[in-house]
C-alpha cells in the first residue's frame, strides 16, 4: 500500500492553487510532475558537479563521467537490459524513434518493403516511419483498432509478410490507456525474423518493463513522463541491432578518429550519442527511477488499478459521457467524450475549477478518425493521484454539464 500523503508531499508542483482552486493534476499522460529528489538531484549537479564529460582528465569531469555512466546502469537495471551499452541517451521518445527510423532505414529498407504500425500510435511513432517510406518507396501498413480500443490481432497477423522489415507499436495507448499484447506481437514478428520497436512513452511509468523477457529489439521512452526532467530520454536497443545500425547524428563524443579523409566511429553506446550529453537530465532520470523503484512498481500498479476502476465506475454514471477504450486490459488512463458538450468547452471549465485534464486529439489523429471524434478529454492518473481527486473531477463535470446543457 502506498503512503499517498507522504508521496504527495514529495511533489512540490502538486500543492498549488489554480484559478483559486487546489490543483488536481490529471495531465500525466502529457508530462508527469517531479519529486523533490529529482529536482534536488539536478540542482545538486549544477551546484557541485557540473562538467563536460568523457574526455576530461580533471576531477569534476571524471566525477561527472562516473555519475553519468552510473545513471546508464540504473536505467539498464530498471528495464533489465543485458548490458549498459544497450542504453542510449536521447532527448526523448520522439528522438529515439527518429534515430531508429533513420538509421534502420538507411541500411535495411528498400523500395517495396513494408513497415507495420498501428492505428493507435502517437504521431511520433507514425510520421518518422511515413517519412522513411516516402524516401525509400516503402509502404506503411496499419494494424486496425477494434471498437473497445484494443488492437485487431487478426489484422496484425494478416499484415505480417516477408516484405515486412520492422514493426513499431506502442506499449500503452496514450489516448485510451489500452495495453497492447506486445509479447505476443513480438513473438509473432520474431517468428518471421522481423524486429519490433516498442514505444514505451506511456509504458514505463505504468508497468514493470523487462526488455529481455519481452525480447523486444528496441524500447524507447521519455524521462519527463517518468517523473524526470525534460530533455532526456532513452533508446534501448539490442546490442546486435545497435551494432548493425549506422550512426545517426555525428560530431563530438561519438567518433574515434577524424580526418578529412576518413572518420571512424566510437563504440556503443557512444556511437549514437553525438555532442555534449544532458548530464543533469541523465542524473535526474536516474534519481526518478530510484525513487519509484523504492516505492515499488507493483504497489504503484496496484494503486493505479484502483484509481482506474474507481474512475471508470464513477465516470460511467454520468449522463451522456462515453469512455473511449473499454478493453479491460488498461493502464490508469481514461479518455471520454460527452455526446452533447465539446471537449474544448468541458476542458476549459474544468480548468477553471482547478482540474488539469488534456483535451484534443492527443497527437493521435488517426485514432480520432477511427472513432469518428475530433478529440477526447483525457484523465491520466499517476500514482500520486487519489480517489478524492477523482470525486472532485466527477463533481466538477457535473458543474460543467449544468453550464452547457
Amino acid at each position: 500500500m502506498l503512503d499517498i500523503k507522504k508521496i504527495r508531499s514529495e511533489f512540490p508542483a502538486l500543492h498549488q492553487m489554480v484559478h483559486d482552486s487546489p490543483l488536481v493534476y490529471f495531465d500525466n499522460g502529457a508530462t508527469t510532475q517531479k519529486p523533490d529528489v529529482v529536482i534536488e538531484r539536478v540542482q545538486h549537479y549544477y551546484e557541485n558537479e557540473n562538467s563536460n564529460i568523457h574526455r576530461g582528465v580533471h576531477y569534476l569531469s571524471q566525477e561527472a563521467t562516473s555519475r553519468h555512466e552510473e545513471a546508464r546502469v540504473i536505467i539498464q537495471k530498471f528495464i533489465n537490459a543485458a548490458d549498459s551499452k544497450e542504453i542510449i541517451f536521447t532527448k526523448g521518445t520522439t528522438e529515439s524513434i527518429n534515430l531508429v527510423a533513420s538509421s534502420f532505414s538507411k541500411k535495411f529498407i528498400s523500395e517495396g518493403d513494408e513497415i507495420i504500425v498501428t492505428e493507435m500510435e502517437h504521431h511520433a511513432n507514425i510520421v518518422p516511419w511515413q517519412q522513411v517510406c516516402e524516401e525509400k518507396g516503402a509502404h506503411l501498413k496499419v494494424v486496425a483498432v477494434l471498437e473497445d480500443g484494443s488492437l485487431d490481432m487478426e489484422s496484425y497477423k494478416m499484415l505480417l509478410s516477408d516484405r515486412t522489415k520492422i514493426i513499431a507499436v506502442t506499449h500503452i495507448s496514450n489516448v485510451t490507456g489500452v495495453i497492447n499484447p506486445i509479447k505476443e506481437i513480438i513473438e509473432l514478428a520474431h517468428g518471421q525474423n522481423i524486429p519490433v520497436l516498442i514505444d514505451g512513452a506511456q509504458g514505463v511509468s505504468h508497468t514493470k518493463v523487462d526488455v529481455q523477457e519481452l525480447d523486444c529489439d528496441f524500447y524507447v521512452f521519455s524521462g519527463h513522463k517518468l517523473f524526470a526532467p525534460m530533455g532526456i530520454g532513452v533508446l534501448y536497443g539490442k546490442e546486435s541491432w545497435l551494432e548493425k545500425l549506422p550512426p545517426y547524428q555525428t560530431g563530438g563524443e561519438m567518433i574515434k578518429n577524424v580526418s578529412f579523409e576518413r572518420t571512424t566511429f566510437n563504440e556503443l553506446p557512444f556511437k549514437f550519442e553525438a555532442g555534449t550529453p544532458n548530464v543533469g537530465g541523465a542524473l535526474g532520470l536516474a534519481a526518478a527511477i530510484e525513487y519509484i523503484t523504492a516505492i515499488g512498481i507493483e504497489d504503484i500498479e496496484a494503486h493505479e488499478k484502483e484509481l482506474l476502476d474507481y474512475g471508470t465506475q464513477q465516470l460511467s454514471k454520468i449522463e451522456n459521457l462515453r469512455i473511449i477504450g473499454t478493453s479491460d486490459n488498461k493502464a490508469s488512463v481514461i479518455s471520454f467524450i460527452f455526446e452533447d458538450i465539446h471537449h474544448y468547452d468541458a476542458g476549459t471549465i474544468l480548468d477553471q475549477l482547478g482540474i488539469a485534464v488534456r483535451t484534443g486529439n492527443h497527437c493521435a489523429q488517426p485514432l480520432m478518425k477511427r472513432f469518428g471524434l475530433s478529440g477526447t478529454i483525457r484523465a491520466a492518473f499517476a500514482f500520486y493521484n487519489t480517489k478524492e481527486e477523482i470525486d472532485k473531477l466527477v463533481s466538477s463535470i457535473n458543474r460543467v454539464r449544468k453550464m452547457f446543457i
Binding site: 474544448y344 476542458g347 476549459t348 477553471q352 475530433s374 452547457f404
Partner: protein, 142 residues
Amino acid sequence: MSIESSAAEIVEEFEMFDTWLDKYNYIIELGQELEGLDSQFKEQKYLISGCQSQVWLTAEFNDGKVYFKADSDAIITKGIVYLLIRVLSGNTPTAIVDYDLSFLEKIGLKEHLSPTRSNGLNSMIKQIKLYALVYQTKEKQR
C-alpha cells in the same frame, strides 16, 4: 459604431460580472446566440487551423467594409469569435488591420483572451487580419 467604441462596450459589459463563472456563462450565452454558418461554409477552406476546436470564418467585402461570419463546434470558442466579429465586422480593411485588440486583455479572462498558441485566438485574429489585408491590397490596386 467605431471599433474602439464596440470594444469599450464589451469591456463595460464584462465589468458587470464579478466571477469567472459569470463571465463564462456570458460567453457561452453569446456563443449560443451567434448565428452559425450554413453547412456549405463548414469546409476545409474556411477552417482556421491551430485551434483545438474547429472554427470556420468567412468574410465579405461590401461598400468598402468587411463583414465577417463565423462558427465553431465549441460554444466557448463561438462566444469568443463572436466578440471579435462584433468589434471588427463592418469596418474598413485598414481599420481592421491596424486595430490591436488589446481590449481582450481588459475583459479579464487572460488565459482565453490573450493570444497564446493553444487556444487558437492567435489563429483567429491572424485570419481576420489576413482577410482585411487582402481587401486592403485589392482596393489599393484599383
